[in-house]
Symmetry: C2
Subunit: 145 residues, 2 copies
DNA sequence: CCGAAAGCTGTAGTGTCTAGAGCTTTAGAT
DNA sequence: ATCTAAAGCTCTAGACACTACAGCTTTCGG
């Protein structure tokens, strides 16, 4: 049961990569992970190459890349050498998305802070500042939503 | 067509609140927005109270509250006075979620930055640093993914 | 009273899994 | 060789919060 076995069933792959069994089958279904060999009884038998590819996929998903982009990145990593431009473009675009999301969440954080601290949860004290804040958008300082 | 009309069809409500027609019907279907009166020909006719409630919902959604939580907040806002504690708890929990998400996105931003700047997209220059970074999780500085 | 715009219901699709039913295979112990 | 429990298989449906369409009916201005 060490990492040196040449072939493994889906459960072992799941354990090694931290990707759930169902998710692995899903990745195969949507064409991210190539279909592996099968045992005589039709069970999947994965090689180390599969494990590497799945690790790549998991890492990219953890970084928030969409499955579609991962498909492209995998294609790029398969076609040897060239086309690094495209990978760079995907990463930069994704980085921008992430920064954007952070900015939006920050302004959201500010408003939630304001709302949540206005009412401290005392029963009689407010009636209720949170509800009022949500009801009346005019109170908030946002420009863009 | 000013804001003073006492009753309006779904399209007018959509325009005034910035919520799409289909989304309004969806909110009715899942019990967020109470079913309005109907015209003789079975079309929805909304009152100003509906518009207010929908504004509340939209605001909360913009702030990222889940539909389920909004349902609770609406219930609280209906049962007059008391139960402010619960609204506070929901808001604080949500604020924590948001902060958590921000933290995760920040560390993600760091790594994407590192990856994207390692390879500048020159065709021959790398083969390819981005792909390698994704393939080899060991390179990244994260603790927790 | 005509025709275009807006409305209606109901169904299916989006993306990324997750969960379950109902069955078969495998691996280890006896 | 046989038994059994764990793990695997396929297929379907569900989760979230919508969105989009098909095919029909109502409304409203001219």
């Amino acid at each position: 049961m060490n990492g040196l076995e040449r072939v493994m069933p889906i459960g072992a792959l799941a354990e090694r990569t931290g990707v759930k069994v169902e998710t692995i089958r899903y990745y195969e279904q949507v064409g991210l992970l190539p279909p592996p060999e099968r045992s005589e009884g039709n069970q999947r038998r994965y090689s180390r190459r599969h494990a590497e590819r799945l690790a790549f996929i998991k890492h990219a998903r953890d970084l928030g890349f969409a499955v579609d982009n991962i498909r492209t990145l995998l294609r790029l990593s398969d076609t040897s050498g060239i086309a690094c431009d495209e990978a760079h473009a995907i990463s930069v675009a994704h980085l921008e998305e992430v920064r954007d999301k952070i900015a939006r969440l920050r302004s959201l954080e500010k408003e939630l802070e304001r709302i949540a601290t206005t009412c401290h949860g005392g029963v009689a004290a407010c009636d209720c500042a949170i509800i009022e804040a949500l009801a009346d958008h005019g109170q908030c300082n946002h420009a863009h939503h």
